[in-house]
Symmetry: C2
Subunit: 308 residues, 2 copies
């Protein structure tokens, strides 16, 4: 079959670090254009200042990968779907839930593929963790996601603005894993969101969820962690304890550990290709819904100002 | 056909003012029990202290209407659906979006009817407004919902707590109408939520939405209104201006006005009966999603303390 001709829109760090190498490494895709208002683009392919310019004057394309900040993603995705193009949305899939629901409906009408990608779900330990948990009685789940925002998001002002998710930007990765591996749905019971006095978005959050059958799930998010970083999910079951560490890369079961090289974005692009070939969409908004529920129902507390 | 044997759960003001008269006035329903931990119940039917007690020892029932505060609604609804009972959820349908999504999935599995009722959609002007707008070009929408919280929610502490919606408790009624009558979906662009210094939930909010094709929609919510109260939606179109006043009861079109007696809850129960007879569910979470998006993306400002 002919390769899927794809353009990458929004040539920031995630596009260069992850999307371009994964596209280059997958023969089902052919990179034919990039879109960036400021950036020189990608060597060997045409760069356009806007998606409008690409659609008006550019080479024929079948799909776009949207790597812009979420605040501007809806109008770009709607424009692409309107042309019948397939769309891969980076996480989070939008700035609001309602707009993602509308994109899903639009894709269903046009027959194009819409893929809301959750890269952490493609971490090496996630699929085996899901398989192992499928038959267990789950007694307790603990999620601890503690990292140093100065290391991972230096000077990124937008992440602290309204509509930026603050510490839920990494936290939503944890939720994308938890919603994938746990056999039951779960819901927010209570949350405390700690927001620096000089910022709009939380720097830390303590959350308590309960599964449909009552299993307690706690989540501890903190962006003020220095020293060792934690991206861990621990699940206590009737058959012992499962631990997913390093954001899903390292799986430890009672019978032993496994660790694999990072292949999250390779997995994402393999899934996107399969969805396009099958004429299907995949838009699971559950992780985003849980974050919105935390903002909706959580208690706000003000904490020390943060400057980076 | 035999009447639908129904129990009302949560015997507060809305149950007595609206649900009981509407059930009594609809021959498709037979009230057979009430559930209230403190209340003496309803004359002529058995009252139970809990839903568990009703299910264990009560008369046979086919359906429940859940009129409790939203914070406790999920577990009651899940318990009822698990028994194959049909469930009518008062608005808002839950304390979080994720739990409503889970109830919808559970109802689909059991085959029971789940009905998330939005009473304002059954106001007399809403259906004709929707029909009139279906073919118009819509240029601008203004929603103004200004009421005196001291009159409408005197001393209701829970409405100010995290998970209570504050001024979005009435505001979600406006959104339930707007999402019903406007032909396009719309999404939050920006919001300012004004929260009293001594409360957790907003007392006022200014919101800007845009429809999928770019139509601006503004919403002005305020609980500090004394004197005349406003529950108005004004839609400017290529064929003139539509006005829905008094929460949807009074419709004014360029060709004239119409006003009808309140029949919102009669309409809700007629719909619930039809859904049960047809073996279908109706769970539109769009109004709740838009409120969650406002909490997710809105800017918070602190305003004067409020005491009632």
């Amino acid at each position: 079959m002919a390769a899927i001709r794809i353009a990458v829109v929004g040539m920031g760090k995630i596009a260069r670090d992850q999307h371009l190498p994964s596209i280059a490494g997958n023969t089902e895709f052919e990179l034919v254009a990039s879109v960036s208002p400021r950036d020189p683009g990608v060597e060997g392919v045409a760069n356009f200042k806007s998606l409008e310019a690409l659609l008006a004057d550019g080479p024929a394309i079948d799909a776009i990968a949207l790597c812009t900040p979420p605040q501007v993603r809806y109008s770009l995705a709607a424009m692409a779907l309107d042309k019948g193009l397939h769309v891969f949305l980076e996480k989070p899939p939008g700035a609001t839930l309602a707009e993602v629901d509308a994109l899903e409906a639009q894709a269903a009408q046009t027959g194009a593929t819409l893929f809301a990608g959750w890269h952490s779900r493609f971490a090496a330990g996630v699929a085996p963790a899901k398989a192992w948990l499928a038959d267990r009685r789950i007694d307790r789940v603990s999620i601890v996601w503690r990292e140093d925002v100065r290391v991972w998001h230096p000077g990124q002002a937008w992440i602290w603005e309204p509509g930026g998710l603050g510490v839920f930007d990494p936290g939503i990765n944890a939720l994308s894993i938890a919603t994938e591996i746990l056999p039951e749905p779960f819901f927010l019971a209570s949350a405390t969101l700690s927001t620096p006095a000089n910022r709009a978005a939380p720097i830390a959050a303590d959350l308590a969820f309960r599964s449909a059958s009552g299993t307690p799930i706690t989540m501890d998010l903190d962006w003020r962690q220095t020293g060792p970083q934690s991206w861990d999910i621990v699940v206590d079951t009737d058959a012992g304890t499962l631990r997913l560490a390093r954001g899903g890369a390292v799986l430890t079961l009672p019978e032993g550990s496994s660790e694999h090289d990072d292949a999250e974005y390779a997995g994402l692009y393999a899934r996107f290709a399969a969805l396009v070939r099958d004429g299907r969409s995949e838009v699971d908004t559950t992780p985003f819904t849980l974050v919105a529920d935390a903002f909706l129902r959580g208690t706000r507390v003000s904490v020390a100002a943060f400057d980076d």
